[in-house]
């Protein structure tokens, strides 16, 4: 069967067109994903950046007799309506603790309330007309100002949007992750080492392997239920604590670490093992001195990714009570705490409009940490990866 030149070239054109079309479609898919990402980031940045600034107001604080009972009495009656309650309610406490303050007065910058803050940022506010005039006057005199919101990083949650921060949630996240790592890393690595280097290949180990792979795909909320049933109800670990949260998340992270470690171990070539056996090393010496160190970068990468996944998790923590209102920064593993994603979840449910920017600000902080963690994993892999 002979084909003319025209027929062949038309077929060729068709094939080229088809491959060009496929290329455009895949590029379109990538572009779409990029657009979504861009839209998400710009939305988050637009909403979240204002959270890093907070309105402050300069007031005269007069520590008089009345103020020792009712904080509001220390301030000018008009201005007291613009000042955050978190400042005002501490005045009687301050006077009680430092009696020499009584009778003195000072001028200082204090936190303004969320309404003033929202007004300055051009958002919807609930100030009445006189208050708007007053704030405008103060603004002209330079007595009201948007300043960098250090509070956001140095305090815990608060019902007053202007005073709420992420520190307690961040500390809770760190403590929870420490527990997770302390449990999941050794158990995960040792399990993988056993399965990969020591265990015989039989029905039983195959069954275990299938189960581990299945566990990695289980919805995370089930681990929460397991944590509630075993850790809280059976072992009596206190609810809402980093201890129970960390243990629950460790269950979730375990399969990820096991699978990553096994892949890393498998990528170490057998020639290394054979050479070590050849000079008379025992099996344990081979693993400890040769295989594990060579597999370590892969194990670290897998663990960091598993940890980053656990860090962004809320569902299992709802079940073990870590989605709670925690204004105090925790100091121990058995004290109630919350974590960053749970804090974001809590803020998202607040009716006050001022919490919208806190929510987005919290998301920005969480994203920054996660990007940092994932970047570390990539760098570790790039730096220590060995090709055989």
């Amino acid at each position: 069967m002979s084909q003319t030149f025209d027929e062949i070239s038309s077929q060729l054109r068709k094939r080229h067109r088809r491959s060009a079309r496929l290329k455009w479609i895949s590029m379109g898919a990538l572009g779409l994903a990029g657009l979504f990402l861009l839209w998400f980031f710009s939305d988050m940045l637009g909403k979240g950046l204002p959270a890093f600034q907070q309105a402050q107001i300069q007031v005269e604080v007069d520590y008089n007799e009345d103020a020792s009972r009712m904080g509001r009495a220390a301030l000018d009656p008009d201005l007291s309506r613009l000042v955050s309650r978190t400042f005002e309610r501490m005045i009687p406490v301050q006077i009680r603790e430092n009696p020499e303050l009584l009778g003195t007065s000072e001028t200082r910058w204090v936190l303004a309330n969320a309404q003033v803050d929202q007004y300055l940022k051009g958002h919807r506010h609930k100030l009445n007309e006189q208050q708007v005039v007053l704030v405008d006057e103060l603004l002209a005199e330079g007595r009201v100002e948007l300043k960098f919101n250090t509070n956001f990083f140095t305090t815990g949650d608060s019902k007053m949007a202007e005073a709420s921060g992420i520190l307690s949630a961040a500390v809770g996240t760190v403590m929870t992750m420490l527990v997770t790592l302390a449990i999941a890393f050794p158990i995960g690595v040792m399990t993988a080492v056993y399965l990969e280097e020591f265990a015989p290949d039989n029905r039983f180990t195959q069954l275990i392997e299938i189960n581990i792979n299945n566990l990695a795909a289980i919805p995370s909320i089930l681990f929460g239920l397991l944590g509630l049933a075993i850790f809280i109800n059976f072992f009596g670990v206190p609810r809402s604590t980093p201890l129970v949260g960390g243990m629950t998340l460790a269950l979730m992270t375990l399969p990820v670490i096991i699978i990553a470690t096994r892949t890393a171990l498998r990528s170490v070539p057998d020639s290394i093992r054979h050479a070590a056996f050849g000079v008379g090393c025992s099996r344990w010496q081979v693993v400890r001195d040769h295989v594990l160190p060579l597999a370590m970068p892969g194990i670290m990468t897998g663990s960091i990714i598993g940890l980053a996944q656990a860090m962004g998790e809320t569902a299992p923590l709802i079940i073990v009570g870590m989605v709670a209102f925690i204004p105090d920064v925790g100091a121990s593993f058995t004290e109630a705490a919350t974590v960053l994603p749970a804090q974001i979840f809590t803020w998202a449910g607040e009716p006050e409009k001022a919490f919208v920017e806190k929510t987005a600000g919290g998301i920005l902080v969480l994203l920054t940490i996660l990007i940092f963690l994932n970047a570390t994993a990539v760098i570790l892999r790039k730096k220590f990866e060995r090709r055989w």
Binding site: Y194, F325, P327, K353
Partner: protein, 336 residues
Amino acid sequence: MNRILKTTAIAAAVMGVATVAHARDQIRIVGSSTVYPFASYVTEEFGAVTGNPTPVIESTGSGGGLRLFCNGVGEGTPDITNASRRIKVSELERCIENGVTDVTEVKIGSDGIVFAQSSENEAVDLTLEQLFLAVAAKVPVDGELVDNPYQKWSDIDASLPDREISIYGPPSTSGTRDAFEELAMEVPSEEMEAYGGEAYTEIRSDGAYIDAGENDNLIVQRLSEDTDAFGIFGYSFLVENPNTLIAAAIDGVEAESEAISAGDYPIARSLWFYVKNQHADEVAPLYDYVDMFVSETMIGEGGYLGDLGLIPLPEAEREQTREKVAERAKLQVSDL
């Protein structure tokens, strides 16, 4: 293998240590998500002003809270549970069975459930029956119960707007939904002959009622985009969005603070919390917290919780609440 055993043993030991805890000075609170914003305000204030550790408060829903609360007396059980409805006889009986015999009931205020729409629309005045006909799965037509045929409000009554019925509301796990079913569905259906005097609370699932999740903020956001729709949520969200939302009047009563407080607004409920008196000695600051909660600066007219959307009780009832707290009145099954 040895290492694995050791690690497991260490983990088990850690858990063992954790169980040996001491008498605590931190109050533990669980319960209703409706009461949660108010209670967490008080806990924060309590922690900041008195120097006691800030109570831990979890939002578990009214039913979930009462279940935890009635699990028994002692270290692991909560001291207070918040509820957006009154404790049921069965729940109190379970409490007593489990040794929680001395409970004080504290009524803190009221909350209205509003039926609101985007403020771009004209104000609407609905009767409770019209509202019921819009959300029920089966409605009486010519004396027969049939699948809800109403697609537009004007189908229910010609005086209502010519708009598709589209309602964003809470899911079945929500306390707001429970209260809505009880107040806006049970009440009118019991008076309608076609249901034979029985309460009917099934909500239609043909797409006119849309489950919008537990987050009331989402409902509010959707209403400003979908201006034809209505939303069902707590009064505090209406207060927070005065420019974007208007609430429908129900049976001619506007959803306003006074009307809800006086009990004139038909879809209103009381908010409560329950205190485990058997913990009062062990958890020392317990009643300091309760006293702060029921103080006039919190639950009174113009109190701080009012700013958050809590509707204060009439003055006499507030006094009654404080009296009950002062004498730590024990709740009996016969009181319910």
